[in-house]
Amino acid sequence: MKKMRMLVWVMLLLFVSACSPSTDAAKESKDILKKDWREIEETTKNKTVRMYMWGGDTGINRYMDEWVAPRLKKDYNITLKRVPMDAPEFLKKLANEKRAGKDAGNMDIIWINGENFKNAKDNGLLYGPFVDKMPNYKKYVDAKSLDIQYDFGTKTEGLEAPWGKVQFVYQYDEEKVPNPPQTFEELAQWVKENPGKFTYPDPADFTGNAFVRQLFYESSGNVKNILDSGYDEDFAQKNSVKMWDYLNEIKPYLWREGKTYPNNLTELDRLYSKGEVYITMGYNEARAEKLIKQSVFPASTRSFVMKSGSLGNAHFLAIPFNSPNKEGAMIAINFMLSPEAQLTKLDSEFWGENMSLDPARLSAADQKKLQTIKRGESVLPAETLKKYLQPEVDSEYVAWLKENWVNEVVQNK
């Protein structure tokens, strides 16, 4: 019996741990939305807000840790803890918590968009709608604009608040590419004249998919056609022929003769940084600035957009259904939507990314400030960007393009 006791003891030792108190969370949550803003502010003093976000950019992290967090502490007495984690991972965690019926989680704010938002929304992982509670949202965000009402074709319905906007641009080395292509035809021409100096990431990657998506827009005539038809595989099949032909046509002239592709944007950027390719690409029209400053990209890096259009989207902040501090999350999100926070974010010293606020709604002083911010030589003028801006389509096309690309382009010998 002593042996048995030993065993029990070992097992107990292993499972001794903190237990999580279960609360009547659902009811509490509804009450929060009935509170007025002043009350919400009162209840969050001395509490911690845990924000889960992708952590792969030192500039963004510095913005959060050095600028946002100290101000939240000072002005609202909220401790902001940034947890670096990729969206698919924290959503897996959240989905499992939902499944196990855990009402008291530990994430208060999550940073998502596109298909991650769709998954979170479809699986009931989000709290809200909460955006209308926040004064800064009501005051500065153009809630009627399409890029805020829809996130990759999914209605946002107040479940997420826009944090920033980015636009897809191509970066090129001015010294090596004096006249960058303006259309996809010109690009094909350029690629043939400069074999091995262009490629795009595997469409399983976010950026690679966006590149192919823009071709898909062109292939189907107009983005309106895609938006009107919603997600429709027959439509996609019919209207993608031109796109696959195009991709197969340039394939032999790509980097490594199109036998392989960069797995993600990091790899493409590395190729560009080493001078193996002359063009790279990506969301965030100002992304090259920091990389130039760090000497990762050559100083002669500039950017261009295609005349046929450039994708733009917003990214958002949301509150998980089981956040233990929803009030604090709202206060923090509201603060991050303040003109001050958004203008600082625009500065390429930290992040260099566009505001989610409507510039027209800013105060005269802030508008002036906005105009004086120089985004850097590699960033295209705001008018140019605006002129070619195009919306995102249904996020289900992302998966469709990813899968079919393997069959149509990779397998096509």
Partner: protein, 557 residues
Amino acid sequence: MKWFRTSNPYVLMAPAVLITILLLGYGIVMAFLESIKYYNQPTLSIYRELLSDEIFITSILYSLRIAFISTIISLLIGLILVRSLYPVLRSKFPKLIAWMPMVFPHFIWGYMLFLLFSQTGYISSLLNGMGLHDQPNEFPNLFKDSFGIGIIITYVWKEVPFVILMLLPVYEQLSSPQKELVYTLGGRRWDVFWHVERPYVFPVMLETFFIVFAFVVSAYEVPALLGATYPKMIPVISYDWFFGSDWTKQPYAFAAMVILTLFIVLIVFLTYLFTRKGRIHLAQSSGAFHDLQAENRKYSRVLFFVMLGMTLLPIFILVLTSFVQRWTYGELLPSSLTIRGWHEMLWHGPKFIEAVYTSLGISLLVLLLNLLIGLPAAKGLAFHIFQGKSLVETLLLSPILIPSIVIALGVHLTFIKIGIANHWTGVVIVHLLPTLPYTIKVLRAGYERIGKRQEEIAVSLGAGAWGVFRNVYLPQLIPSIRSVVFLVTVISLGQYFLTALIGGGEVNTMAILFFPYFQTTNDAVIASFSILFAMIPIVVWLLIEGTLRLVIPKQPR
């Protein structure tokens, strides 16, 4: 400490078996249920679909081929190195050198080799700078090729040290009178190898083969970093299904991994079944005779320097890269240097310190549990024959044969329910999964070398159970315990996915803090983080080495 006295193998192994079943069981059941979509209508359609899909089959064959080639080459090189170098490798410094690549996570090692050998890598750049070739593409293309050469090179480079770690204790204690006997009887070198070494070495080789093979065939990071667009290895495809945007694809990930897992587990089980008789005589030996005569002593110095070079070259490049701001292709020296990478790291200040302490604490606890559970289990496996031994062996090895995404769902659900998710206890327990099998393997080999005769003698002289353990086994197990310390800390520190999921962001280890930075393009940042990351296990190792010196009554030398 009564379990030291018991001779009932079931009791000795109960903690290890129970913990393995508890952690794995629900996970595997969940994974299987998910793969047959039990919540709708149970169906095997996904399996049928996968097994008739050309891309999937190509991918399976490709994965098996890469795993097989990498494993065989690693084993051969490892065996040759250990045979010729074990007297040299007994000393601490050479051993640390030999094990060094293990402190770098696989993908960092892959990244280091990529820096060195890619078409625009340092070597190609150097050749270009010396005027030996004009274009980067004249350098052989080793990475992202459809044959997987880069993947194989990375795995071989990484796994050879592991093979050394597994084989070294065997060679350190091979009996020399037996060898002399073979020579006296007119045997040649080959006969010595076959009759004296093989019985001891072969079982360990076989197990090492499975461990390495199973790891390579199911690991995600290296092929994700260095693999070609087509064909992709199975883990890459599965991870994409698992983490991809289309959540309805998740069952495919489970199905793919279940197929792969079944395949591996079946082979391992059959092998154990057929080789169990060959192994038991090992434990009948009366213990070790220390023999420091290497087979090829004249080559051992040369070989050691080759190994030293192979280990230090990538590390040197990594250190260099951490200071390089810009190094244009073809230039012999970098055009500008920077401390930005190190600055980024030091800027983390408090978070960094917290992560170091958390990592240290977790890995030490994991280590303690490993020893507590592993020592009796290893003894049970080494000295006893019992019903269902092959099954138990397979079960105890299975956590490393089964990819973590398969069991992550079940383990996470369980941990949430018993309230240890988002807490360090959960992280410590889940880290047992990828570490305990190694511990048991290594310690079992240790017990087998010592044999049980010494215990019998000690007991007949009146020694108690604790006395036997402390005076007979512990001193002689030190080489094995060293290996365990090293392996467990390295593996525990390198766990990202399981720590992120179970720790839920509350437990911020070094891996959690730094892995996101591997997505940056800035090589200086990646390189300085990698170096820092690798330092931690070395520190742990030195700490424990120091403690061992104080605690252990006599050094086995």
